[in-house]
């Protein structure tokens, strides 16, 4: 990785798909469009033309654009506030972003909500976010499950910040997605800050992707300022999801280059941190890469830039000239009524498969559903490992876990997590170090960086220095069969009627079985 030429070679070697020139230029176009659109909105905000808050994705454009570019038209996304770029890739015109922020009647929500809070069920397959973080994870799990049920072979993808990864909805949603093996990709956008709180004060693990192990799902860590790496990691995850291998969590390491929102000067961020990440600006790095690899020249760049300016001029003017909504419009649309929507699922499989008698099923648990009896670790062994059944984290993950004993378990069980695949496709055990020594498993940073970056490149903090791994799946653990609870049938003996002798309802503690 000493020169950009070497990185290119490595990349090509590790890649399943080489990008076409047009794809490279599209990535640039959308990242630059994303940035210029948001820069214009900052000016509009200062002119008081933006009604509410304005959130910036400056420095994170590669995440939105790289991830969403890896999806197909049929796939579904749900953006967060810093994923304007993903909306653009999905085909949302910039005027929708302008009008949303300016609360105009011409906006997708006609002024009922702002920012990226809008969706499109029919054409672009976008689910609107709400401000409560994490809630999109169970919702997109449901989208993924429904797509599978209908035979659509779609993948659902959403983003969550490092901050939002602490919510209960994150856990509940990812737990269900994992249990259901839903075709769901979660991009954990680690931009180092949850409002004013740094990651280190929120999360006691080194990599947010380490959490994937706990859900038994695959995971990947990728440099979020490297749009090609983000694209390729997502592409691979999406392909695995579509193949039925269950959810995939991708942690993208990046940096929020502005405050939480426009009102926030982010004085709590150390200056050195901004400087460090500014030198790694995703657009500047990509421009350099395109030039060094002769994918474009100055003329092409200026053509794209001019096109963006032209388009944004038109779109911004449309938004500024648009009317505000009429006040009484506030009363409309609380309910779906009077035929305002025809709700019809798009079946891509035979309905007969899910209808009786075909759907009929022997509902009992079988022993193979519950794991192999021989795999239950004895209580003694659990105690010996400190009650912490699996070792997580990469080679840098030191600390108490290092003292794990590995009683009665094959050695490869304790290969650090990033080298592990989900149960079904786990590769032969190899230490991370060994993998590194032979050949990088996946593309490295594709950009030649200046000497300034040498320390970062070689440091273990560089996400690219981690094996491009997946979270390990837990061994099938023994689960107890559903307890044979006796359900007290509080017999339907009492009839409801006035002419019955005595009281209509005998009070008694009858209907309580099943409490938990």
């Amino acid at each position: 990785m000493a020169t950009s030429a070497a990185t290119t070679t490595e990349r090509e070697r590790g890649m399943s798909e080489t990008l076409k020139r047009e794809q490279y230029l599209d990535l640039y176009y959308f990242m630059q469009l994303n940035r210029q659109l948001e820069e214009r909105m900052v000016r509009l905000f200062r002119q008081n033309k933006i009604v509410g808050g304005l959130y910036s994705s400056l420095g994170q454009e590669a995440v939105s654009v790289g991830t969403c570019s890896a999806l197909e038209k049929r796939d579904w996304i749900a953006p967060m506030i810093r994923n304007i770029g993903a909306l653009l890739v999905k085909g949302v015109p910039p005027r929708d972003i302008f009008t949303q922020h300016m609360a105009k009647f011409t906006s997708p929500t006609k002024g009922k909500d702002g920012t990226s809070h809008f969706g499109d069920l029919k054409v672009r397959h976008i689910v609107s976010p709400i401000s409560m973080l994490g809630d999109l994870i169970p919702v997109m799990t449901g989208v993924a499950m429904a797509g599978r049920y209908l035979g659509q072979n779609i993948v659902a993808l959403t983003w969550i910040g490092d901050g939002g990864s602490s919510t209960g909805a994150f856990h509940e949603g990812l737990g269900l997605a994992a249990a259901q093996k839903a075709p769901f990709v979660l991009i954990v956008e680690n931009n180092q800050w949850a409002y004013s709180t740094p990651v280190s004060r929120q999360v006691p693990v080194k990599n947010l992707a380490d959490r994937a192990v706990g859900y038994g799902i695959a995971s990947t860590i990728v440099d979020g300022n490297d749009v090609v790496a983000v694209y390729q990691a997502t592409k691979k995850a999406v392909a695995e999801c579509r193949a039925g291998r269950g959810p995939h969590l991708i942690e993208v390491k990046t940096m929020r280059m502005r405050g939480h929102a426009q009102h926030d000067p982010a004085e709590y961020v150390p200056k050195e941190m901004f400087e460090y990440w500014k030198a790694r600006d995703p657009i500047v790095l990509f421009e350099k890469y395109l030039t060094e690899n002769k994918i474009w020249d100055e003329k092409v760049k200026s053509e794209i830039d001019a096109r963006i300016e032209r388009e944004l001029d038109v779109e911004q003017k449309f938004a500024e000239d648009s009317p505000m909504p009429p006040p009484e419009f506030a009363e409309e649309g609380v309910y779906c009524e009077n035929g305002c929507h025809q709700i019809e699922a798009q079946w891509q499989r035979s309905k007969a498969e899910v209808m009786p008698p075909k759907s009929s099923f022997d509902p009992g648990w079988k022993l193979e559903d519950l794991g192999k009896l021989g795999e239950i670790p004895g209580a003694k062994e659990v105690a010996a490992s400190g009650g912490n059944g699996a070792k997580t984290g990469g080679p840098e993950f030191n600390g108490p876990q290092k003292q794990h004993s590995t009683p009665n378990l094959p050695a490869q069980s304790f290969v650090p997590a990033p080298a592990r695949a989900p149960e079904a496709e786990r590769e032969p055990a190899q230490s991370v170090a060994a993998v590194e020594a032979v050949e990088p498993a996946e593309p490295r940073i594709p950009f030649g960086r200046g000497p300034k970056d040498k320390a970062f490149r070689e440091s273990p903090d560089n996400p690219q220095n981690k094996t491009y791994g997946r979270g390990g799946a837990p061994g099938k653990s023994f689960q107890k069969a559903p307890p044979e609870k006796v359900f007290h049938k509080s017999g339907p003996n009492k009839s409801f009627g006035k002419n019955q002798p005595g009281k209509n309802f005998s009070k008694g503690p009858q209907d309580k079985s099943g409490r938990r």
């Binding site: 969706g119 409560m132 209908l150 909805a169 709700i343 009929s360 009627g497 006035k498 409490r515």
Partner: protein
């Protein structure tokens, strides 16, 4: 009453009626699926979904981890692709765990971004069975106060079946409260064929001239018992069973008050912020001139639901309390 005094051979309980509604809808429409905790092999804590897994398979009877937010979130996501999930809360008390999903995601989607959420959230509610403070709740008013939702709380098996079918076919998110005290304590014969009961229509359970008693769910039966008691004293009470709390059947309420000129509202929910206050406001707005006395209410106390039987009985409204309030009102 729609019920019969002596159960006929085909009479079924409310649990069975709810199950029939779900099974019939799932047979009719492949987009209807069930999702919840322990609803498969076990058939649900109260056996409402008993047998459904065997009939419809794991793709349509989806057993989840203990994660109410995941249940509602996933159902919401499924509905965006045109499915109609019926979610079970093992006890409706646990809907508090997914309050955010229900009130912020599910309820607001259609208004904000034109995305209908045709899901049903159903579960056992209510007290009187000594379930204690976390298995006896009547949390309906949190949701009646949430624009975008519909809230149903039936009192008879046939209403439960017909209303649940309406709820499943409705394009809006519907909360369907099932009073667990009524689950197996009454039996009723179902009307023939594929029938529905309209959402938003109250039922007049007893015609009367002297005063109106409005109630719903288990308390509708208490109101009926009270009306029988009052009849012995020559007080002729009209009893209205709301059946749907949101949207509220204002026409039936106001028409009855205009007829009897006196109003007593009975609910098992706690007093402050209960639906009695809302009904009283509507009647004051629309029938103030017709009132011959103050609007009275008999409700549960403003406390959590206590566990011990003497405490819970003290907490809940009962026939005697309703009769006493009605007597007082009749004197005006």
């Amino acid at each position: 009453m729609a019920t019969t005094a002596i159960p006929k051979p085909g009479a079924i309980t409310m649990v069975e009626a709810i199950r029939q509604a779900m099974v019939e809808e799932m047979e009719r429409d492949a987009s209807v699926v069930a999702i919840g905790e322990d609803i498969g092999v076990y058939g649900g804590a109260f056996k409402v979904t008993d047998g459904m897994l065997a009939k419809f398979g794991r793709e349509r009877v989806i057993e989840t981890p203990i994660a109410e937010t995941a249940i509602i979130g996933a159902a919401c996501g499924m509905s965006f692709l045109g499915l109609r999930p019926v979610c079970e809360m093992q006890f409706i008390d646990f809907i508090a765990c997914c309050f955010n999903q229900v009130t912020n995601f599910v309820a607001k989607s259609h208004y904000l971004w034109d995305a209908p959420v045709p899901i049903v959230i159903r579960g056992p509610s209510g007290g009187g069975v000594h379930g204690g403070p976390f298995h006896s709740a009547n949390p309906e008013m949190y949701f009646v106060h949430t624009p975008g939702l519909k809230v149903i709380y039936p009192s008879t098996p046939s209403d439960a079946k017909g209303l649940l079918k309406s709820a499943i076919r409705d394009n809006n998110p519907v909360l369907f409260f099932e009073h667990k005290y009524l689950y197996r304590r009454l039996k009723e014969e179902m009307p023939e064929g594929d029938y529905t009961v309209p959402i938003g229509k109250a039922a007049i359970r007893r015609q009367g001239r002297d005063l109106t008693i409005i109630s719903y769910a288990a308390m509708a039966h208490t109101a009926m018992e009270a009306a029988e008691e009052l009849a012995k004293e020559g007080i002729d009470a009209e009893v209205i069973d709301l059946r749907t709390l949101l949207p509220l059947d204002k026409e039936t309420i106001v028409a009855s008050v205009k007829k009897t000129n006196k109003l007593l509202i009975v609910h098992e929910d706690t007093r402050t912020g209960g639906i009695a206050g809302e009904i009283a406001a509507i009647v004051c707005e629309e029938a103030f001139e017709d009132l011959d006395g103050p609007i009275e209410r008999v409700t549960a106390l403003d406390t959590p639901v206590p566990y011990s039987p003497p405490l819970e009985e003290h907490f809940l409204p009962n026939t005697a309390k309703v009769v006493a309030a009605a007597r007082k009102l009749a004197k005006f």
